[in-house]
């Protein structure tokens, strides 16, 4: 029985790793292009979604965690959201990425520009206080959720072997 599972899932896992590599490539391209960083957020979130599927340890963080987040970027009118829930099909908790704002969020983060948004997901230590004080970032909702989210998202650059974006402190 177990062997059967493995045979079914091994290709799935390989496919996920491949997908992660593709995302990495995409990310590097966005970074190399410089300037306009929109798209990076979505890619990073998709990467986080994959990492959570692959990494059992990290997945433990989203057990019984039904949180909803929206990220809105004012220049470029970007919105992307994530929600966590338990997947009946996979019988494990998963993260979903949506290309739009969602309601009933625990917290909504509004960024002034794509650069701040990119830093938020890709920097070594996203500094939300500095963001607020520089008028580049606004939070609406339960701050504790964003703390947890930063903990999760900090794994993305590490896991993908991408140099974090440095944050102009």
């Amino acid at each position: 029985m177990r062997r059967l599972f493995r045979r079914i899932f091994r290709p799935v896992r390989t496919a996920r790793e491949q997908l992660l590599k593709d995302l990495r490539q995409e990310m590097l391209e966005i970074l190399a292009r410089g300037g306009n960083l929109d798209g990076l957020m979505t890619v990073a979130l998709k990467a986080l979604r994959l990492i959570l599927l692959i990494d059992r340890d990290l997945r433990r963080n989203i057990r019984d965690f039904n949180a909803r987040y929206s990220f809105i970027c004012l220049d470029g009118n970007l919105a992307v959201s994530v929600s966590f829930k338990r997947s009946r099909f996979l019988r494990q908790p998963v993260m979903e990425v949506h290309d739009e704002a969602i309601d009933n969020t625990n917290i909504t983060v509004t960024f002034a520009d794509t650069r701040t948004m990119a830093e938020f997901v890709m920097s070594e230590s996203p500094d939300i206080f500095a963001g607020i004080l520089d008028n580049k970032l606004a939070l609406d909702g339960n701050l504790n959720y964003i703390l947890k989210f930063i903990y999760l998202v900090r794994h993305v650059p590490k896991r993908m072997g991408i140099e974090p974006i440095s944050c102009p402190a």
Partner: protein, 838 residues
């Protein structure tokens, strides 16, 4: 045979920092260890508290009982550690230098960096992988919806959003229940068993009032926690002692030390102390216990030279205690008080890093009857302060001219010159008067202790919550100049619409706008503070702290519900000098017949908003020629006094959630530097992102003289500053001990007689501090005063280091002039970047 208490002082003179390794080897060793210790995040408390809160069978308990049991769960079960040969048992955390996590408050702030905090650049705090997992999986998730800030947001998200803007005010209740001075004397003298017995009697007498019954029960639960903890220390010490079998001399010492700890901890704090060593231990264990319940911020031992004096005197006179031993035991207390720091998330570190836990000790002054309270133990504690120049405890010296001896004032001065930073000086005359104006009785006011940084409160009677509100004066000014808009709210007016600059025809109109914005912010701050207070009442009653106060036991009411004799809250201010000078500049440039530089307010505001780009003449003018606070300029005096009066009157009459007053104060810890670094330019010529001046201190590098600066501060009406202030003075290095001490001491006497409330010092030259920033390794233990407490220069963030460097330096041994920082700020800035490791 003992010796007379009068013999103490000549004996003390024999002990110096230089001969400490021979005369007080234990203290020398502990001091070295202290400087070497690395900060570790302590999760033990968070784990035990959370575990109890999660328990299914605790769900239906009244919060009063539940909170008591959660804290007891920690105290009774926490592990006992002996990191060194300190003669006192007990420790704040499981680590030699620990930063406890309070998940009820801001503990979750380190969530983002759980895997990085050990290695981060600025002040790393070590966290083991195992402990990180505990926080990540077992502790933090449970608090997601339950932190105090979140409780408040759920009730009033609009108000909470104001706090989250960060530039208007801070409400410290989100971070802490603290900033107060418990009455440890009662434990030392009566013992906890007596408190337990009292609570039983009171409970029996209170009929069927369940709130009261629960309160008295909760006291007993908490007290049992302390007793368990102390008993565990005794057991572990005994066990450790038994394990030492060999007879190497240092092991014999260690063994007898452990046996003594075991003996003492099996007796106190349950029973009254009978010796100095026992009394100090009892006090320390209670201090640890208070921090088990409440955050480790400004939990103050208070007037311990008064509390402990009878024990000290008895032991000395009966010959049970030598001066060296008394120094050793007292020094052990100092080092124990320094065994914890605050947990600082990385993001906060960049703004406010470097803080200790600031337990304040208050020495000297007068007693409740108005008599000189300086005693031989006061001098002994000053000696310990001199021998151990460490960040904590925050030592403060009270002084009443005419009543306290001049030799005491001289001795405090000498210790300040010797340590270059501590203690801070407080003027009893002004401070007692300020407290009387706050409706404290004369006796109670005379028994004040310094709270945390500089605030005042009757010891053991005033639950002072003195750091409740930080008002950002620069934001108030911005709003007054922008029709109620703030730098982070775009085109929308947040405050009242008091008019665009063009609508303000004269200085009175400007003041009205300023006062209206201030009043608006004050209302919001009070509303929020009270919301937070209610959240505390609903979630975090404080039975343990309550049992160490005058009031709650008699009234059956927890501190957090107003059970103390006095129930004040503190309101402090950031940016005082810079904002006063800005108003001076506005008055001078826009609203006077000044022919050299005149422009409409709207133009001035435009220039400031452009960070003076393209307004060179104006910038030079407001910097060099506009009236400045600290120079005794008529306009500046009038405006500074008006600001002080306005702020006081605005809060006067407002009541907090416990029915107490709001006490206005001016101290800033390191926040003036952190917030300065993120604030825009001001009309006084301070450019964007430059640090503000600290506390009540005149702006740095303004052309003051020593006496004009002191006079302008002393002129402020202390009745309008009941929470006191921090005045930072920096002197060039002083040579020639006795002449320097006399001069230093004379200046303090004169300043106090002119009406000053407080003053603290750094005896440091510009170049020393610049050098320390560039080569931190060579200045590892350099101790400095920030605004209210001491810190190690190296642990401060770059903004705060710059503020310390640029503070005006006076040449006390020369012509008294302020020495300009040369080269000036500009060229120095590039230097700071090169040197700024953080």
């Amino acid at each position: 045979m003992g010796f007379s208490i009068q013999d103490i002082r000549p004996q003390l003179a024999k002990f110096t920092r230089d001969n400490m390794s021979e005369t007080l080897p234990l203290l020398a060793e502990l001091l070295t260890r202290h400087h070497k210790a690395r900060t570790a995040v302590d999760v033990e408390r968070a784990r035990y508290i959370t575990a109890y809160m999660k328990k299914p069978d605790s769900r239906d308990e009244p919060i009063q009982i539940k909170r008591a049991k959660a804290v007891k769960n920690y105290l009774s079960n926490r592990k006992v550690h002996f990191h060194d040969d300190n003669r006192l048992g007990g420790a704040t955390t499981a680590h030699e230098l620990g930063a406890p996590v309070y998940p009820e408050f801001f503990g979750l702030g380190i969530w983002p960096e759980l895997e990085f905090i050990s290695e981060r650049k600025a002040n790393p705090q070590f966290l083991s992988t195992q402990d990180a997992k505990t926080l990540n999986y077992d502790v933090f998730p449970w608090w997601l919806e339950r932190t105090i800030s979140e409780q408040v947001r759920k009730k009033d998200s609009e108000s909470q959003a104001l706090v989250e803007k960060m530039i208007l005010m801070t409400i410290s209740k989100a971070a802490t229940i603290s900033h107060t001075t418990p009455d440890y004397g009662r434990v030392v003298k009566q013992g906890i068993n007596k408190i337990i017995a009292n609570s039983r009697e009171q409970e029996a007498a209170c009929g069927s009032d369940t709130t009261k019954i629960n309160f008295y029960k909760s006291i007993r639960i908490s007290m049992q926690g302390i007793l368990d903890y102390s008993a565990n220390i005794a057991v572990q010490a005994q066990k450790r002692a038994d394990e030492i079998s060999d007879s190497a001399p240092q092991h014999i010492n260690r063994r007898s030390n452990l046996l003594e700890i075991a003996r003492i901890c099996s007796k106190v704090p349950a029973e009254p102390a009978a010796s100095y060593h026992e009394a100090v231990t009892a006090l320390w264990i209670c201090q640890v216990a208070v921090m088990a319940e409440n955050s480790n911020m400004a939990i103050n031992p208070g007037r311990i030279d008064q509390i402990l004096y009878p024990f000290f005197r008895n032991d000395i006179e009966s010959g049970r205690l030598t001066v060296a031993e008394a120094l050793e035991i007292t020094g052990c207390l100092w080092l124990k008080l320094a065994d914890n720091v605050n947990l600082v998330p990385e993001a906060a570190e960049r703004l406010f890093g470097g803080a200790g836990a600031v337990p304040a000790i208050t020495l000297g002054g007068i007693d409740a009857d108005g008599r000189d309270a300086v005693n031989e133990l006061t001098y002994l504690m000053l000696k310990v302060t001199e021998l151990l120049p460490i960040r904590d405890p925050n030592v403060n010296a009270r002084y009443l001219s005419g009543t306290n001896p001049v030799e005491y004032r001289d001795e405090v001065s000498r210790v300040i010159l010797s340590t270059k930073a501590i203690p801070a000086f407080f003027n009893d005359e002004q401070n007692i008067r300020a407290l009387e104006e706050q409706a404290e009785t004369l006796e109670h006011a005379r028994d004040y202790a310094v709270v945390g940084c500089v605030e005042l409160g009757s010891a053991g009677r005033d639950y002072s919550a003195s750091s409740s509100i930080f008002m950002m004066l620069h934001t108030v000014l911005y709003m007054a100049l922008h029709n109620g808009r703030t730098p982070v709210t775009g085109d929308k007016s947040l405050g009242p619409e008091t008019g665009e600059p063009a609508d303000l025809p004269d200085i009175e109109a400007f003041w009205s706008a300023f006062e209206a914005q201030y009043a608006w912010l004050a209302d919001k701050a009070v509303h929020l503070n009270n919301l937070y207070g209610k959240a505390h009442q609903e979630n975090l009653p404080t039975p343990l702290l309550s049992s160490l106060f005058h009031g709650p036991m008699e009234s059956g009411r927890d501190l957090i519900f107003g059970g103390a004799v006095y129930n004040s809250s503190g309101v402090t201010h950031i940016g005082f000098a810079d904002v006063c000078d800005s108003i001076n500049a506005i008055e001078d440039v826009c609203f006077s017949n000044n022919r050299m530089m005149h422009m409409p307010l709207a133009d001035l505001v435009a220039a400031v908003d452009a960070d003076f780009e393209g307004y060179d003449d104006l910038w030079h003018y407001v910097r060099n020629r506009a009236p400045k606070y600290g120079t005794e300029h008529k306009v500046a005096i009038r405006n500074s006094q008006r600001m002080i009066r306005n702020n006081f009157e605005c809060f006067d009459g407002k009541r907090n959630y416990r029915g107490g007053n709001y006490r206005v104060a001016y101290w800033t810890m390191t926040n003036h530097a952190g917030y300065g670094r993120v604030a825009g330019a001001l009309p006084n010529g301070r450019k964007a992102k430059v640090v503000f001046s600290s506390g009540i201190t005149p702006a740095s590098q303004v052309d003051t003289s020593l006496t004009s600066a002191l006079n302008d501060v002393a002129r402020l009406d202390s009745r309008h500053i009941p929470g006191a202030y921090a005045l930072n003075m920096k002197y060039s290095s002083l040579e020639g001990e006795s002449a320097a001490t006399k001069r230093f001491s004379d200046v303090i006497e004169s300043y106090f007689r002119s009406g000053g409330q407080q003053v603290q010092f750094n005896i440091q030259d510009y170049h020393t501090l610049i050098d320390a920033k560039a080569t931190p390794d060579e200045y590892e233990d350099l101790l400095v005063r920030v605004s209210g407490y001491s810190a190690y220069f190296n642990s401060l963030n770059s903004a705060m280091q710059d503020e310390l460097i640029t503070r005006s330096q006076y040449d006390l041994m020369g012509n008294g002039k302020f020495v300009k920082l040369d080269p000036p700020l500009k060229s120095f800035k590039s230097l700071s970047k090169a040197g700024g490791a953080k």
